[in-house]
């Protein structure tokens, strides 16, 4: 990953956190003095290197892990905002990336019962819950949205 793509990635993440949502190519282009085409091609290279995930249908950002650009079953309140995480791992990851405490809201995929966790000093307040990862690590990126 060259320094231009590292810079593009950094600006993209920074805007995601500032805006509380995925930035558009136009917004990133405007802040970096790039064209939208340059941003889009840079995002494609970052996607290929698993540094972010694009929506295949629109080339917009789908994931800037651990953040999700689209609504998911994992909502996280952290740093004064509500965020969507891509999965349970990423829900804790949002607190980790922002270096703040937080609140995670989801539901048990089996019974549908609401699950709420407070994360304080990197620790969940309910240790009784379990995390299940279905896909082996070697296949996570075969289909990262499914994973």
């Amino acid at each position: 990953m060259d320094e231009h793509d590292l810079s593009l990635r950094s600006v993209t993440y920074s805007l995601f956190v500032k805006l509380g949502r995925a930035p558009t190519a136009s917004e990133v282009a405007g802040s970096e003095g790039l064209t939208e085409v340059e941003v889009a091609s840079g995002w494609q290279r970052l996607h290929e290197q698993h540094a972010l995930v694009l929506n295949p249908a629109t080339a917009e950002i789908r994931m800037a892990n651990p953040f999700s650009a689209v609504p998911t079953a994992y909502r996280v309140q952290a740093d004064g905002r509500w965020w969507y995480a891509n999965c349970a791992w990423d829900a804790f990851g949002i607190c980790a990336a922002l270096h703040v405490d937080g609140r995670i809201e989801t539901s048990c995929p089996d019974c549908g019962e609401a699950l709420t966790l407070e994360v304080r000093d990197e620790q969940p307040d309910d240790e009784s819950l379990l995390f299940h990862c279905l896909v082996p690590a070697a296949r996570w990126w075969d289909d990262i949205v499914f994973t």
Binding site: W89, F92, E122, W140
Partner: protein, 69 residues
């Protein structure tokens, strides 16, 4: 990658599918903080697969399921 109430809920949700790996939510939080805490600073550099594997290994996630390749 989901949270569940208990092993019983995981088993029922799997419905006969091959199970993956289950860890405590406390271990998950440790993993997430080790994995994601460096994500936002501008000096971030991509981690190699080997370094990612070290993160998993250090948390005791060293079974074949957690091997990145």
């Amino acid at each position: 990658m989901n949270l569940f109430r208990s092993e019983e809920h995981i088993e029922r949700w799997l419905g006969g599918r091959e199970p993956g790996a289950t860890i405590s939510v406390g271990k998950l939080s440790e993993l997430a903080h080790a994995w994601w805490s460096d994500r936002l600073p501008p000096v971030w550099q991509p981690r190699t697969r080997e370094l990612n594997q070290v993160v998993l290994d250090r948390l005791g996630l060293d079974e074949p399921f957690w091997q990145l390749a």
